[in-house]
């Protein structure tokens, strides 16, 4: 199967155009789900591929505990440059495991510490914090909590505050943190999936924006709330907010809200240029995922047949 063994490692590159198209043309809800699913499938395939390569690599090490058949010439022939690939795969897989473990651990730690910080406050869902830094977060876990500072609230008109709360409630209700976490883990598993993570972060925000627009009944109010909030936080010296700079291009969200609501139909028609591109890109992503899986299965079979029973 030659170089196809390595395909799952580089195929995530093909998801980039899908991410671009989905971001721009699909309903945010569809885009978030699609991109998360593609990211997870590709990350799993890529990690599986690394694991199998690592097995081939490890089997060649003297004194390894693996079956002797795994270091047979037939197995090694399945992997081009098997010596190098096997040796590189070992630290690579280790790095993936460490990175994913750290992401999960951080996720748990931040959630736990944030809940603990708010434990003494009354009110089951909304926590208003007296703070001069404007920020708002949807904190998952349990029934979820909306954290918002007085600085942000005081900068918004009543209708815009409703939009803000509707936005955060949408995050909690649709459990966006699961999509975000999945996308983050996928990006840790294969760095080529980073654009998908960025896209998911953006589409999840857009999804919540659209939900808020529906709840408030006025797209412009939501647009103004987002815009004002971003301008409020602009001058804050806190490094926290600067670190979020990559999160999402606010002007794009505002512009999207000022435009008509996106079509709720799941897929654009295949007969428009956009539809054709979106369908083509989605099919490409599916094919990459399939061939990732195929390569992984093939390698697995070769190893399986080489295993003495």
């Amino acid at each position: 199967m030659g170089v196809f063994v390595f395909l799952p490692l580089v195929l995530p590159l093909s998801a980039w155009p899908v991410a671009r198209l989905a971001e721009g043309h699909l309903h945010p809800r569809t885009a978030t789900r699609l991109l998360t699913a593609v990211a997870v499938v590709m990350a799993v395939c890529s990690t599986l591929c690394l694991a199998l390569l690592m097995v081939v690599g490890t089997a060649q090490l003297p004194g390894n505990p693996l079956p002797d058949g795994w270091s047979d010439p037939e197995v090694r022939a399945a992997v081009p440059h098997d010596e190098v690939a096997g040796r590189v795969a070992i630290p690579a897989l280790g790095a993936v495991a460490v990175a994913c473990g750290r992401t999960l651990w951080r996720h748990r730690r931040v959630t736990r510490r944030a809940h603990r910080a708010l434990a003494a406050l009354p009110g089951p869902t909304v926590a208003v914090l007296p703070d001069s830094t404007p920020y708002a977060y949807a904190l998952p876990g349990g029934r979820g909590r909306i954290v918002v500072t007085t600085a942000l609230l005081s900068g918004l008109a009543p209708a815009e505050r409703r939009a803000l709360f509707a936005h955060e409630r949408a995050h909690l209700a649709a459990r966006h943190h699961r999509h975000l976490l999945a996308a983050h883990l996928a990006a840790r598993a294969n760095p080529f999936l980073r654009p998908l993570r960025t896209a998911v972060v953006y589409t999840a925000e857009r999804w919540a924006d659209e939900e808020a627009a529906r709840a408030v009944g006025d797209r412009r109010t939501v647009a103004r709330a987002i815009g004002k909030a971003a301008l409020l936080s602009r001058g804050t010296p806190a490094p926290t907010l600067a670190a979020l700079a990559a999160t999402g291009p606010v002007p794009r969200r505002v512009a999207a809200l000022l435009a008509p609501a996106p079509a709720a139909r799941t897929w654009p028609s295949a007969f428009t240029a956009v539809g054709l591109a979106a369908w083509g890109a989605a099919a490409g992503a599916l094919m990459s995922a399939m061939s990732s899986a195929n390569s992984a299965v093939t390698l697995f079979r070769i190893l399986h047949s080489a295993t003495p029973l």
Partner: protein, 143 residues
């Protein structure tokens, strides 16, 4: 005052800070650390209470005055302020919290500010005639 019906759970420092501050706020006036310790149910060591009070002093949410050989403590902020401080510290310390916290506010890269202001100006009521269109399309945003 062990939470959760006496389930023996180790309480985090932050949780204790909240409880100590809460106790101080329930007091009629300035009180001693021993009063706080008694108020919290006595399962905390006296030194722990003093440590926490000192930490709260450093955060500027309590004040103290000397009376004889001990200090009298008064709260200067409420529980919400303490929670805000702790949340800030948490956010400042975490670089990778996007995986956890979906945020409403995102910082603007310098160039984006102009674009955003222009967009918002265009969105002001009365300045754009596409308003009606946006409204009618709203109704069509179905699942």
């Amino acid at each position: 005052m062990v939470r959760d019906g006496g389930r023996a759970r180790r309480r985090g420092q932050g949780e204790l800070e909240g409880q100590v501050l809460g106790a101080l706020r329930e007091a009629e006036g300035p009180v001693t650390a021993a009063w706080v310790q008694e108020r919290l149910g006595g399962d905390l060591a006296y030194t722990t209470v003093v440590t926490i009070l000192t930490r709260l002093l450093a955060k500027d949410v309590v004040a103290r005055e000397r009376q004889g050989r001990s200090f009298l403590w008064t709260p200067t902020a409420d529980v919400a302020r303490l929670a805000a401080l702790r949340m800030r510290r948490l956010l400042d310390g975490e670089r990778d919290r996007q995986a956890v916290l979906a945020s409403f506010v995102t910082a603007l890269p310098p160039g984006d500010e102009q674009v955003l202001r222009a967009l918002l100006d265009a969105a002001e009521p009365g300045s754009v005639n596409s308003r009606k269109t946006a409204h009618t399309r709203d109704g069509g945003t179905e699942d």
